[in-house]
Amino acid sequence: MGLLNRKPGSTKQPLKIEKELTVINPLGLHMRPAALFVRIASRYRCEVWISKEGEEVNGKSIMGLMMLTAGQGSKLKVRCEGVDADKAIEEVVASVIEAETGERVFSVEDIGLN
């Protein structure tokens, strides 16, 4: 069996990458952007974790994301761990931005930041 005589270096070193995000949407990280995040995270093999103020949840679970209760201004940390962590983090972070912008155009009229 190949397990024992696998050559060192033949597997990729699992990557661990972290990024920080700020929730800018006045409605917070609610169902729609959370759903987009989960769907994209679930496409990757690596583990995806997301945390707020030290509380960490599985980024592939919508219930987890909702439990973060990330309102506007929340600072989130996304952590991807695994072989495809680099690609995963790029895309999940982009997903949040996409959802945010889509949402803004959609429901937020002039929210009056000046």
Binding site: K19, E20, L21, T22, I24, P26, L27, G28, L29, H30, M31, R32, A34, A35, L36, V38, R39, V57, N58, K60, S61, I62, M63, G64, M66, M67, T69, A70, G71, Q72, G73, K75, V93, V96, I97, E100, T101, R104, V105, F106, S107, E109, D110, G112, L113, N114
Partner: protein, 584 residues
């Protein structure tokens, strides 16, 4: 009101405009009764199979609803069901149910109900009202799963065969998907706010709706006759003849207003006596530019540029910024585009680039022009991009959070350096303005006015700093009063200083979109008002209904008054007289 009428009024929030009259159908949200019974170890497999079957069934139902809403309203509104599907598939949720099946040894609907209500409870404790409302989505799915586990048919919501006004505790996405929208004349709910699902769907379906009626489902019975006012949020049971007559007129007038607002798109925003008030739009994202002309705005009075920094690790390059600004400028040409330089720092952080650090008082901290003058590279990159975009010919620039003359001069120096670097052939003429949003700037407006081409007053911050009130803080939010005598005096100082120095002055804060305050702003001599695109038609209608002398009279009267409420009352007098229908 006639003495013998027994009409009863309930007051909620009008979230979808329009009037509806008819019989009500009250839907009560009966919680499913779930009993707990013990099971043998050998039955666990069977319970898991039942659970799986219920999840599959739920999935199918959700897909059907999604299809229905997509056809009826559009894919965007159906997207919420994608989130519902994820709840059905959620590993965390499913694993917890399976684990507790083993440890508790009882029927799966009870276990599931327990797990689901734990989640619901956590969500109901959230401070953020928006997110708290989203707890309903999760409940919507979990209740459906419980019903399926119990073998009950999905909630039979609207089997009514006649047109009716729907009264419910709250409407979930499934409810709105299953309701027969041709028969629903209006919607009234106990819970909800203008951002809740009910409100969003009601607006996209053009169904009048009132939410936040507390316990109205407890007080009403199906079959009662009501009048629902989606403008003001009133729900009137057994309306008296006078009430009906009154609303008959309202309906007629509102119909005319809607037509009038559409027609206004093409008309100039001049007062009844011919003074032109430039009416422009505030935008945030390049995509917002489409709605500027659609709503009849004359260009962009405030282009917020912070979005370029959000959620990224690298600084936006000069090229990227230039392209973005140039496209927006071309899109609104020949109307002006006023670009506000980065208002970063404070609560708007540039994540991952510059460590702003935790500040005790971010609103009084290192932000906007203060931040830019110390991060000169970031600042110059933006200024160079703006200078290059000015070649389109309609670009103006303004600096936020100017607190005094030296800061303004320093910012202008940096701008001049950028212009020299770029060379005059690659740029157009560009007006330079200062945002007046700090009381010190307002008080020294006469000095600032000599060195800029225009002022734009950010009323949100100006009011906040003047009265020292954070309006996000619910305890003191009531102190945030745009008609505070001190605010009025500051606005007057700014406008007078601008005109004494022959420069123009505009208002880009929320004050400009409050149609009750337009008479005050015109009376003060504001040359420009900039508001969110969708508010433009209403503001334009207000402007067109007013004459300058009555507004000036209002200001001179208001300056003699001592309290916010007196000043507001005077504004409302004028507004009501000229365009009462636009208010409320």
């Amino acid at each position: 009101m006639s003495g013998d009428s027994k009409e009863i009024r309930f007051q909620g929030a009008g979230v979808s405009p329009g009037l509806a009259r008819g019989l009500i159908h009250v839907v009560r949200d009966d919680l499913e009764d779930v009993v707990r019974y013990p099971i043998e170890r050998s039955q666990i497999g069977n319970e898991i199979a039942r659970f799986e079957a219920a999840l599959v069934q739920t999935r199918v139902q959700i897909l059907e609803m999604q299809q229905r809403i997509a056809e009826a309203i559009g894919a965007k509104d159906a997207a919420i069901f994608d989130a519902h599907l994820l709840v059905v598939e959620d590993r965390t949720l499913i694993d917890e149910v399976l684990r507790r099946l083993e440890t508790e040894r009882c029927n799966v609907e009870w276990v599931f109900q327990e797990v689901a209500s734990n989640y619901a409870e956590t969500l109901s404790k959230i401070d953020d009202p928006y997110l708290r409302e989203r707890a309903m989505d999760i409940q919507d799915v979990t209740r459906r799963i419980v019903r399926n586990l119990q073998g009950k048919a999905p909630k039979p919501l609207l089997s009514m065969g006649e047109p009716h006004i729907l009264v419910a505790h709250n409407l979930t996405p499934s409810d709105t998907a299953t309701m027969n929208r041709n028969l629903v004349l209006g919607i009234a709910t106990d819970l909800g706010s203008s951002t809740s699902h009910t409100a969003i769907i009601a607006r996209s379906l053009n169904i009048p709706a009132v939410v936040g009626l507390h316990d109205v489902t407890e007080k009403l019975e199906s079959g009662q006759h009501v009048l629902l006012d989606g403008y003001t949020g009133a729900l009137i049971v057994d309306p008296a003849a006078e009430t009906l007559a009154y609303y008959g007129e309202v309906e007629l007038r509102k119909g005319l207003i809607t037509k009038e607002l559409k027609r206004l798109r093409e008309t100039p925003s001049t007062t009844a006596d011919g003074r032109h008030i430039v009416l422009s739009a505030n935008i945030e994202l390049p995509g917002d530019v489409e709605s500027v002309a659609e709503n009849g705005a004359e260009g962009i009075g405030l282009y917020r540029t912070e979005f370029l920094f959000v959620n990224r690790d690298t600084l936006p390059t000069e090229e990227e910024q230039y392209e973005t600004y140039r496209k927006v400028a071309e899109r609104v040409h020949p109307d002006p585009l006023i670009i506000r330089t980065f208002d970063l720092g404070g609560d708007k952080l540039a994540v991952g680039m510059v460590d702003v650090g935790d500040e005790l008082n971010p609103f009084l901290g290192w932000r906007a022009i203060r931040f830019c003058l110390e991060n000169i590279d970031i600042f110059k990159t933006q200024l160079r991009a703006i200078v290059r975009a000015s070649v389109v010919g309609n670009v103006k620039i303004m600096f936020p959070m100017i607190s005094g003359l030296e800061e303004l001069r320093r910012a202008k120096e940096v701008l001049e350096e950028c212009k020299k670097e770029i060379g005059s052939t690659k740029m157009g003429r560009m007006e330079v303005g200062a945002m007046i949003e700090i009381p010190s700037a307002a008080i020294s407006a006469d000095a600032l006015a000599r060195e800029v081409d225009f002022f734009s007053i950010g009323t949100n911050d100006l009011i906040q700093y003047t009265i020292a009130v954070d309006r996000v803080n619910e305890r003191i939010a009531h102190l945030y009063e745009p008609t505070h005598p001190a605010v009025l005096r500051l606005l007057k100082m700014i406008a007078d200083a601008a005109h004494a120095n022959k420069i123009w002055v505009g208002v880009c804060g929320e004050m400009a979109r409050d149609v009750a305050l337009i008479p005050l702003l015109i009376g003060l001599g504001m040359d420009e008002l900039s508001v969110g695109s969708t508010s433009v038609p209403r503001v334009k209608m207000a402007v067109r209904s007013l004459a300058v002398p009555e507004c000036q009279q209002l200001v001179s009267d208001a300056l003699q008054l001592q309290t916010s409420s007196e000043i507001l009352a005077r504004c409302l007098d004028v507004a009501t007289k000229r365009y009462g229908d636009l208010l409320g």
